[in-house]
């Protein structure tokens, strides 16, 4: 039979030799191992002060993007909600009134847009489904809370700030492959 690892050892219940029986060599060996670890490098990362480097395409808290003129990109088509396997997204659409052109990019917009962060499985399907490049997952971590209610994130948290300097950077997620994918009209959501 093939070995699963190259470290496996045959076990036997042979009688212990004298050196094994007095345990001292084994104890000293064990103690030398622990003392080496005592002075060794620690693997813990002091979380709030230090942060582990994320993968470029880490899927964390969502952002609802604005376009260059500061208008919300989301048009409340509901494709993200349909695509969501966890059914975490709900929204209510509204019609853009005259005079609101500087706020919303399209004639229809999301009056209410909520993601339940406890339901969300951070799969990124909403991002794939979005035809308007409005929703993206970012490398931000969803903060812990003491109650359930604050985990339902509304537009106040999800939509990125107007200020150009405070916009959420999602360039890492817009790889060539993503652009390619989004440009192929064959996929249902791009039609």
């Amino acid at each position: 039979m093939q070995n699963l690892t190259n470290r496996s050892k045959m076990v036997s219940d042979k009688k212990m030799t004298f050196l094994e029986w007095i345990y001292i060599p084994a104890i000293i060996k064990g103690m030398s191992i622990t003392i080496r670890h005592f002075f060794g490098k620690k693997t813990t990362i002091n979380y709030p002060e230090e942060k582990r480097e994320f993968s470029k395409v880490y899927r964390g808290q969502h952002v609802l993007k604005r376009d260059d003129e500061g208008r919300e990109r989301c048009t409340a088509c509901g494709l993200c909600a349909v695509a969501c396997p966890a059914e975490a997204i709900t929204m209510r659409a509204a019609e853009r009134k005259p005079g609101e052109e500087h706020l919303y990019r399209e004639e229809k917009y999301a009056a209410v847009y909520e993601i339940n962060m406890l339901r969300c499985i951070y799969c990124g399907d909403c991002e794939d489904a979005c035809p308007k490049e409005a929703i993206f997952l970012t490398d931000r971590i969803v903060a812990s809370q003491y109650e359930r209610k604050p985990f339902v994130y509304g537009k106040d948290i999800l939509v990125e700030p107007l200020d150009l300097n405070l916009r959420i950077d999602i360039s890492a997620r817009q790889t060539e492959a993503v652009h390619q994918f989004k440009s192929v009209k064959r996929y249902a959501h791009n039609k």
Binding site: I27, G30, T34, H37, F38, F39, K42, N46
Partner: protein, 343 residues
Amino acid sequence: MDWTELIFKTIFLIIIFTVTLIVAMYSTYGERKVAAFMQDRRGPNRAGPFGLLQPLADGLKMFMKEEIIPLTANKKLFIIGPSIAMTTALLTGVVIPWGGSVTIGGRIFSLQVADLNIGILYVFAMVSIGVYGIMIGGWASNNKYALLGAIRAASQMISYELAMGMSIIALVLTTGSLSLHEIVSQQHGMHWNIFYQPLGFFIFLICAFAETNRAPFDLPECETELIGGYHTEYSSMKLGFYLFAEYINMFISSAVIATLYFGGYNMPFIDQLGLSMNTATFIGTFFFFLKIFSMIFLFMWIRWTLPRFRYDQLMNMGWKGLIPLAMFNILATGIYYFFTELK
């Protein structure tokens, strides 16, 4: 004994008491740090700088917890148990010579509360009474796990006390005195008893581990089999007393080991430095504490290295291993002194 002596002793006693408690308190912190470091972790580092306030937070937590006395428990004994454990743990520090002598206002005071001529016996007596704390606590809980833990503790301590006593007899043969002060002053220079009694030291060390219920002999409270052993039913500060008593015991037994085998407050080459009496005493005490802390570190190092013994292995080692070894040690020491004294 005149008034100045009495006042000095009282103040000194309070200092020892406080130091013992503080050392025990920070042993819990040290233990957690040592454990963490040996497992490649960082240990407590949130409460205060380097987590130094962690013991205070733990203590406060213990006080704040709800105090539960089981309905079927024997209330009086339930309270007496941890009290005995704590009291006996603290009482042992009295006979240990913490340093040489100091001169205050032309008078000489010894840094030892009571120089009993039977100091070693006193230590043994206190350790033996310590078993009662555990036994009574386990019995009064009216819980099978607590009782099992208490029985284990009692039988383990009694078994290892024998070997411990025998290793001490060999030591007494070498020193010719039961007074701890006498034993320490005999080890002046580098005449530490560990060089004369290496086997005795080894036996004493193993027994000290067993007496303080530390790993690998922590069977009385092995959580995998007995939930919490003798303190299963205890909560709040009564539990705190038991846990705290363990750390005090560790400190005191480290001090006893340092006194008996590592020359106590003696430091090599202290005479050549030509220091004044007070400075020399101060450095000696500092050195003594250094030895104690090294011993405490050894206790922790072993705890986080070795797995727990099985109960039959524990008893086998105590009765069939250590006691014959200790007897051999006594015999060898006796024969050696018999022939060297004859010359």
